[in-house]
């Protein structure tokens, strides 16, 4: 649906986007992850045709953004970082304007009503945008992006500045959109991307550092099987008992949680799950386990790991 190939954007000597390529399939929610200034907004602005790339191509549903900008743009609904709202207009008037501007051919009144219902802004329709709260403004911005049911929807940090309840609403809304549209959204909040997206692209300093499904990403990056334990009992006895368990090759004593209770990290060979054996060993040792969990890397850690391992290039990413 959306195909980005070898995208490069230079601002003078600054390399904001450095050879980024990826594709987004129909019905996919693609997360665009990266620290502030990584080039997320720049990439999105290039895909939507707001700015031009220095080199590389963007194809949206068969339309090349530079060769057929009008065709490509008509297939995209875009919510930029700052919603492009005319603050002196009422919500309804604004949506009517955007409807006309996008040359949508659907029945006007019904379609705008439908979009308002989806984004839950029906009750503020006749208010002037200036007086709306940040959350409502964001939703009006989203409504604007949905006009004309474009096959591709691009959202730049859609949940920034919203309160927790609004964030949850926005997320479920986006999830719903993913059923019919191709959604590309950017965020620097990892849990968000983890919650919404099917696939994640991590970008750092303008470079693509990872591109895989959400679960795959945290799996490939996770340490070899590692179990975290909290055990009550003398550490020396616990350590030797743990080391004796089959499949375990390394045990590290961690934090002291409370009197006589310590945390341990138990590493085992891949494809082996020693948790049951550990349970029996500890029971035999008379040192009760009070907590046991698998130490799969959260996306947060995965993200840090991926972005850290990148050597810092001389040019710095810039934000527009």
């Amino acid at each position: 649906m959306v195909e980005v190939k070898n995208l490069v954007k230079k601002y003078g000597d600054m390399l904001a986007v450095d050879d980024v390529s990826f594709t987004a399939e129909t019905g996919e929610i693609l997360g665009f992850l990266g620290p502030n200034g990584a080039g997320k907004s720049t990439t999105m602005n290039i895909i939507t045709g707001y700015i031009s790339s220095s080199s590389g191509t963007v194809t949206v549903d068969g339309c090349e953004i530079l060769d057929d900008p009008v065709g490509a743009k008509s297939k995209i609904g875009y919510l930029p970082e700052i919603p492009p709202l005319y603050i002196d207009m009422t919500v309804r008037k604004y949506l009517e304007f955007m409807f006309n501007l996008k040359k949508v051919t659907l029945p006007k009144k019904e379609h705008i009503d439908e979009v308002c219902a989806v984004t839950k802004i029906k009750d503020v329709q006749n208010r002037i945008i200036k007086h709306l709260s940040k959350g409502y403004k964001q939703r009006v911005g989203l409504a604007q992006a949905l006009l004309g049911n474009p096959p591709v929807i691009i959202l730049d940090e859609p949940t920034v500045g919203l309160d927790p309840k609004q964030i949850i609403e926005m997320r479920s809304l986006i999830k719903g959109l993913g059923k019919k549209h191709t959604v590309i959204l950017s965020s620097h909040v990892l849990s968000e991307v983890q919650a919404i997206c099917d696939r994640i692209i991590i970008i750092n300093r303008g470079r693509l550092v990872a591109d895989s499904s959400t679960s795959e990403l945290s799996q490939t990056l996770s340490k070899s099987n590692c179990i975290v334990l909290r055990v009550v009992g003398a550490p020396t006895g616990v350590l030797s008992a743990l080391r004796a368990v089959e499949g375990v090759y390394r045990v590290e004593k961690g934090l002291r949680v409370s009197d006589n209770c310590y945390e341990y990290e138990v590493y085992s060979e891949k494809d082996k799950d020693p948790s049951r054996a550990i349970f029996y060993a500890m029971a035999k040792n008379n040192t009760p386990i009070v907590l046991m969990r698998g130490n799969e890397l959260s996306l947060e850690e995965a993200f840090l790991k991926v972005t850290k391992s990148e050597p810092a290039p001389k040019e710095k990413g810039g934000k527009r």
Partner: protein, 234 residues
């Protein structure tokens, strides 16, 4: 393009700008008209339409100051540029919206002409010729204003620069009146808005003058599209 025109006209009338500009225009044209009646002169074009030259140079930049600068400042240009319309259509839409307000301003001459026609036989040829000239002049100033507005994020800067350019155009003939070099004189008189406009007010509908104003309009609107496009490439 129609969507842009409609929105801009709505914005003009929902803010004070259209009313203020029209009020100033009505006030001065009314004053000149009163003067004309007092002096019992029949030359409507010469005494009323001709001095409006200066008024237009100073108030039309107010009309154009926010057209593009406000879009840049509010980041709403992102919505326009990512919509399936060309930059030409956006610029033309903005330009035509200001033109509509200009026509609203010029509508004030209709009752004046009716009043004159009630008492005497006006020289219709000169009046129409001047009105065409005035519309072309106004359009050219608007086109220049749109261009200036695309260069800055600040409405105030756009207005000040616009008025300064207006003053320059107004004084162009005076500044160079002392210059003896024939070559420079020729250039100045050929780009002088005043000379061109006074041809219209004296009833001469020169193709060259029409083409001159149309070229100014086309050139500055073209510049505007280049400025917007350049931002995308830099």
């Amino acid at each position: 393009m129609c969507a842009v025109i409609k929105r801009e006209i709505g914005a003009y009338f929902s803010s004070a700008i259209a009313y203020v500009v029209m009020a100033v225009f009505f006030l001065f044209s009314g004053l000149y008209f009163r003067e004309m009646l007092m002096f019992d002169s029949s030359s409507f074009a010469y005494l009323v339409l001709s001095p409006m030259f200066m008024i237009m140079l100073f108030i039309l930049p107010i009309l154009t100051m926010r057209l593009l600068s406000e879009e840049i400042r509010q980041k709403t240009d992102q919505a326009l540029i990512t919509a399936p319309v060309s930059i030409w259509q956006i610029v033309l839409g903005k330009f035509l919206a200001a033109e509509v307000i200009l026509l609203c301003c010029m509508a004030v001459f209709i009752p004046m002409v009716i009043v004159i026609a009630a008492f005497t036989a006006p020289t219709w040829g000169i009046i129409f010729c001047t009105l065409i000239g005035m519309f072309l002049l106004g359009s050219a100033i608007i086109a220049i204003g749109v261009f200036i507005s695309s260069l800055t994020e600040s409405q105030v800067v756009a207005a000040v620069v616009g008025i300064a350019v207006g003053m320059f155009i107004y004084m162009l003939d005076n500044i160079t009146s002392g210059v003896q070099v024939e070559f420079i004189k020729n250039i100045v008189s050929s780009i002088s808005f005043m000379t061109r406009y006074s041809n219209f007010t004296s009833g001469m509908l020169n193709i060259a003058d029409v083409v001159f104003f149309l070229s100014v309009i086309g050139l500055f609107l073209f510049f505007t599209t280049r400025v917007i496009d350049r931002k995308r490439w830099s």
